[in-house]
Amino acid sequence: MRYLPHTEDEIQQMLQTIGATDVESLFKSIPTEFRSKSNIDIGDGCSELELTEHLEELTLRNSCSSDFASFLGAGAYRHYIPAVVSELASRSEFVTPYTPYQPEISQGTLQVLFEYQSMIARLFGMDVSNASHYSGATACADAALMARRIGKKRHKIILPDNLHPEYREVLATTLGVDGLTVIPSKDGCLDKSKIMKHLGEDVAAVIVQYPNFFGIVEDMSEIATSTHNAGALLISVTPEPLSLGILNHPGQWDADIAVGEGLSFGLPVSFGGPTLGIFTTKNKFVRQMPGRICGKTVDVDGKGSYTLTLSTREQHIRRERATSNICSNQALCATTAAIYLASLGKQGIRELSLRNASNAAYAKRVLASVNGVTLPFNSATFNEFVIKTNKPAADVIQALENELILGGVDLGRWFSNMNDHILVCCTELNSKKEIDSYASILTEILS
């Protein structure tokens, strides 16, 4: 087997040093009755060539974005990945080290993580970022757990139904449904008066999504003030942080914890993963923050250096009293995001963000003019919007697929009263031609 460098001679020499007769005898500490009677029933291995053919055959059973015009988003946004990003992020010096426990020989990863934290904190307008969580959804769940720790006896978490349904599911799985109060939205937006009614002394946090699951950009200042007046924390969730290129950042309306999904920052959508959980907070809560954090320091010669820090929060020190159980994270995804954000830069992120919004605004206008389509919500949207069709969404989506258009996500999947609603997404990858053709095919389907 090509990953085993041992020659027969070497094996014999090593056994001799050990004082063992054969390799099998090294397993004698395993009682015989524990030994598996049968081999692993997965068949033989294969050559790299056979394997490549097999994998290619598997990919042929997928249709990918290049086969379609795709308007799918809903938390996993397709973006162009500059060649420089994938090439640098696949350098094996970044890909093959472990967590940088030994800072003297890990300054590369550590400086990248420090720069990632810095850029994310600046983008979100927050004091401090960690070095990554698994995904936007798991970051959101860990934020809720953190809010409960800070709130001590406060247990209740309030969330709107315009928070991504899968994020809501992950919250429910991780925290249990007890103490989670889901508030239905109104016209696609937060029902502020209803949320305020629930803001009692038992509330640890209010979670809001920005822009929300229906693509709507809501002003959060009022809800932030009410939440803080009630002594609770505001957790902001941003599955498309590219939006912050042109939109107010969560720090501006005083979010206590702002999380997000970094898949948009140079990572392929890849069936939805690996993702990149973004996690930021205020300085005063940093000791309650989950995950690795990289900090700046010096070595004995006084040279500026980086190291993982504040590890007394973490499981390997504090065990059951740790702020989280997270250990492995998504460091390489954070590295990729750092390279991507450095490439975009200050002007680039604004331009790209605006391009996404412009394409979506154009698509919204064109699709809304199709007979049989209405816009159920009239608030401002970023890169996504909801259309209502005069036929069931599932049928419309199927008919579009037949014409090689992935027209959006059927909202009936999560909202029982939205079986004729489709969530449509545009990024810089959707050309005017694609959008126009979507509109004309939709016209035929709905007539």
Binding site: R35, D44, P268, T297
Partner: protein
Amino acid sequence: MTNRAHTPNGHGTEGLLYEEPTLFEQSAKGRKGICLGKADVPEMKMGEEFGSLVRDKAPDLPELAEVDVVRHFTRLSIQNYSKDLGFYPLGSCTMKHNPRIANKAAAMPGFTDTHPYQPADSVQGNLELCYELENMLAKISGMDSVTLWPAAGSHGELTGMLMIRAYHTSKGNPRSKVLIPDSAHGTNPASAAICHYKVQSIKSGPDGLLDPSAVEEAMDEEVAAIMITNPNTLGIFEENFKKVADIVHSKGGLVYLDGANLNALMGYVKPGEIGADVMHFNLHKTFGTPHGGGGPGAGPVGVVKELSPFLPLPRINKNEDHYNISYNSDTSIGRINTFFGNFAVLVRAYTYIRELGATGLKEATEMAVLNANYIRARLSGTFNLPYDKPVLHECVFNDKIQNEFGVKTLDIAKRLMDYGFHPPTVYFPLIVSGAIMIEPTETECKSILDDFCDAMIAIAKECEKDPDLVKTAPHHPFRRRIDEVKAAKEMCLKD
């Protein structure tokens, strides 16, 4: 600072050791690393659409040209020690070689360009891969069914413990306690605590093994489960595993197996056959997916059939030759992550297992155990073995002998850097004072192991003759010893 070549902007080098300024220090107003091209739709009027929600100033990201970005990250990359550079014997981490075909597979556009909300008909290849990977992991472990979605080992632990809680709840009482040996990874108690379990620590016996009588004593009908790592974190097989499992089962408890050390067992022991009810896999350890400087990994979880109803959503089903996805179940614990977990990591592990097959996996385990035993044999006597029992895939020494010369484990670890090696895991497991935990993995040949052992032996001699040399190490790497206390005290966490 003597004899140092200096250039005002930090672009010069001292030899090939680049002092790399931060992105922000290199930023120059007006530079851009990307070009968007012309828009074909009218530009949105932000003010009209978003009013006061428009960001007043562009995010303060650095401004760099592509060449700046390329040099910056290339220079930083060479400040890293990596698996591709050399031996990386971190105990409990299984730093084996990462096969390149797996990276190629994960980067195939037919995988990377698929979206999680595409119709199931259009992602049959992805679904088949996931379905088959679940099957293969079940076959390797002897478990009945598997979920692939946890993003890391500890996320798998959380998932497993949530299933255990759901199982007990379905029987009428979620129970309140979880037993965890004192040699366990810190993630075990941390994961159990998130599931609202009280953690009861079980003291290891004098031989470093789980003591059935201690488990017997702690066991009652409030214990939901015991979490066991086997082989344990000393690299020793828990020979009383079955006895302990029987004790726990007899009171209705379940056995959680931490699969971090599965690399010691493939083809020899299937945990599902010896009493484990739930276990997680670390695909980034046992199945060769890269560690990425801390992740992403993946932590699938296998369960016996009594717990299958509680597996997280979604589930992938096979109907003749067609795969479909089920998003609903009355008994499932629900979703534990978005979409389909760390899918590209799953592609890599699938590729690895398919290439090795049953025989290759068993050989990998055999050579991993051979390598660990070889290191143990070569370093015994020079370094103290706190538990002198046969080991499988890793061995744990400590600094007892070197303490006499005032040298500690941390010093030895730092000195290894001067010899060009990544240090082993240090100060873990917690039951060993000054632990030095060495896991060579199977992908290293004898001459590398010999060089490593020679370095360790040379350092042991230095401890006797010139302890200060070791205590002030490292002397040669990019940075000398780094002040971690200052970092925690001053908390400079961003630029």
